[in-house]
Amino acid sequence: MNAKKSQKIAFAVLLATTLVVVLPVLIIIIVIIKEGIPAINWQFLTTMPSNGMRSGGIFPAILGTIYLVLLSVIIALPVGVMAAIYLNEYAQDNLLTRIIKLSIVNLAGVPSVVYGLFGLGLFVIFLKFGVCLLSGALTLAIMELPVIITTSKEALSSVPLSFREVSLSLGVSKWQTIRYVVLPHALPGIMTGTILSIARIAGETAPILFTAAAFYIPRLPGSLLDQIMVLPYHLFIISTQIPNMPSKLTYGTALVLLMLVLTMNLTAIVIRTYFRKNKKW
């Protein structure tokens, strides 16, 4: 067999495997949209569940997810960005920096359910916050830290060195240079990374199982120390624990969660492409 022919066959096989990898994504999304759309209406999105989840809406779960995700990002963002500033602007190439980098890799690899155990041990029991919105948000904040640090660091390092040199040569202090020269240019990259980390966190279930999530609560969360309902846990409950659950509502819940996550991802991708195109250097 000549080389040209074997190349043709090889490329065809590669294309086929790539489709095997990518097509299931489309199938998952199409199945959920098709089966879930009939459940979506104003009442489903804005009322409480009733009849043991088998009818009514998912409003408290939507609200709980939004609260949880916003609170966690408010906690994680300043720490994550400052850590990225440290690594990119201050850190020397020494043992400490290597240990920090290894810790970040490690933090990203810790299984989500182990984060749940950690949150239970530290926030729920040791700090006595109990199972609540705050404990869950803190647990998730630590979990999204590695993503925020890595993407923010990339954004900072893409700002040209000459920008810093000019500012420093004018007698501006190092922190002022970072604050007024480097950070503004790194902002789009930091935003992209943050939105991506939020999208990831919004779908997490295992870390909040023992730190924040409630099976059912007949009222909306009113304080940081309230237990909350959240979409991913709600989906888990209604698809595995409740007999005779109308499948329409299960698909509807999956659709709302999926759309929430995919919209955030899409936003991040749009921001990234827009700023890449309009980059001036």
């Binding site: 590669l14 300043p78 850590a83 440290y86 400490l96 690899g109 989906l235 499948s247």
Partner: protein, 291 residues
Amino acid sequence: MRRLKKLRDYIIEKMIFISGIAAIIFVILIFFFLVKEGGSFFGEYNIKDFIFGHFWYPASDSPRFGILPLIAGSLVIVVGATILAVPLGIMAALYISEVAPKGLKDLLKAGVEMLAAIPSVVVGFVGMVTLVPVIKTVFGIPTGLTALSGCIMLAFMAMPTIVSISEDAINAVPWNYKEGALALGATKWQIMYRIILPAATPGIIASVMLGIGRVIGETMAVMMVTGNAAVIPSGFLESVRTMTATIAAEMGETVRGSSHYRSLFAIGAVLFVITFIINFIADTYLHKNKE
């Protein structure tokens, strides 16, 4: 005024340093709390019986805490998912980075990114309603909630990691390697498997390790499709229960401070150590690739 500004800069720079070492602090804290809650378990239960014990009966009157069935469950899932995901993932990475035309390339990359974004409960749910019934009918078994279902779903969940990191490694192969071979009259395909693939191997190994780490740590999807039977499996068509699923499923029923409760933290510590080692190896290979 000037001194005030200096003081402010000083405080901010100290805060930046503390944030910088936050990652180290959290890794230590995680390990500390796993040991704090789970460590005392080994005071009353032999560590050898814990790891090599064949029976996980945490709630019976004379409880047994052998996690071998759970380790076996995780292992079956990891082996199966890796066998499925690694060849597919590497081939997809090759196609996306070396063969696909620009437009298709962006589309495929977006597809892989979307796959990574789908929450694990949603993957689990879709697996329950689509894959599980198919496996039940194809193999004619009483339930489709099997290790095989878990392997297939988790292979897809590991795919984005394997594809994107392998692709980075393939892209990082220097141009002059390819030019040299091209000048000698090699076809593109010959260059891909004789030159690019070997040169990208360290990065590809790293991608596989990180994919395996993802599979071991995955909790919700695996819990929803594998049937949760804590017995040592003898094949892929049996129900299994992984270490992660055990923690997630049982923690809610335990009494705080009981042996059962502490044994789950001990499992968490075992998981933490395993993923630590895997990530360490992956990181080493990633750095090798850069050199």
